[in-house]
Amino acid sequence: MKRVRRPSKQMLTLLAALADRGGQWWHGYDLMKQTGLQSGTLYPLLMRMTEQGLIEAEWRAPEQPGRPPRHAYRLTAAGVAHIQAHAAPVDGDLGLAGA
């Protein structure tokens, strides 16, 4: 039987930050500033959560012309369900990306 791991504090912080903006897209550096996580913590979490289907990642067109596309992330319905299942403090109206 596969053991279900309780999400770490950092993962919950990240999920909460993603949920905070509803279904909108976030960039990696903005997420770092928002959550206070370092890149060495943030990116492994993003990679794992993308593999688990909790968030989706996509290359998005740049806001300013002449800049390269940026990788952006947002919560999926599974991610929202994950928050609801594991994190009581995170509540409110959660954006359901892909729902």
């Binding site: 960039h27 990696g28 890149s39 492994p44 990679m47």
Partner: protein, 210 residues
Amino acid sequence: MRHAPARIAMTLAMALMRDHERDWAQAMAIEFEQAEREGQGLGFALGCGTVALRRLVTSFAGWHVVTRYGLALVVLLPMALFHLGCAVHGLRCWLFDSDPYLAMLASGNAGQRTIAVAYRNWSPVILAGLIALGTLHILIAWWITACEWRRVGLAMIAAILVVAGLMLAIAAIHPTPWGMALQGIALLAEILAVPILTVWHRRQTHSPIR
């Protein structure tokens, strides 16, 4: 110039990311530019370096990279340097120093004279063999890191042929079976160990568990 350490750290981090993580590496590189504009580039780059290193050493595919580079840098390149060093030393003696075999030739001992003549005759063959072997080891090391297994295989066959030639030359010049056996065993062990390690790496490259 102030940004150089951050850029170097980021380049190293990107180099450590494996092929199937290129998308993530690219994402980090673009965010790094954003962090750099806000003066946070070094911290960001060091974090990315940590991610890349951790993912490298905690995955089988990562270990495959580590051992492949280890085989190339720790085993093959020192071997290449040893062979080339021996060849350079031999060439120097042969070309510039006084004939190292003169004393042996001048001695009244018939056995010594026979050995000296044999060494003189076989020296060019041995030197050419050592240079070829050293060069082949460098090429094998290079192609192993690039996973170019077909080229590695061809170079390995060439190296085995060179070793066979060297062993024949060694057999011709060594007066005692022990001396010949010692050098022969060293060459044989080397030329067997390297293909075994290489074949293992090639199999792991195609393994479904990667």
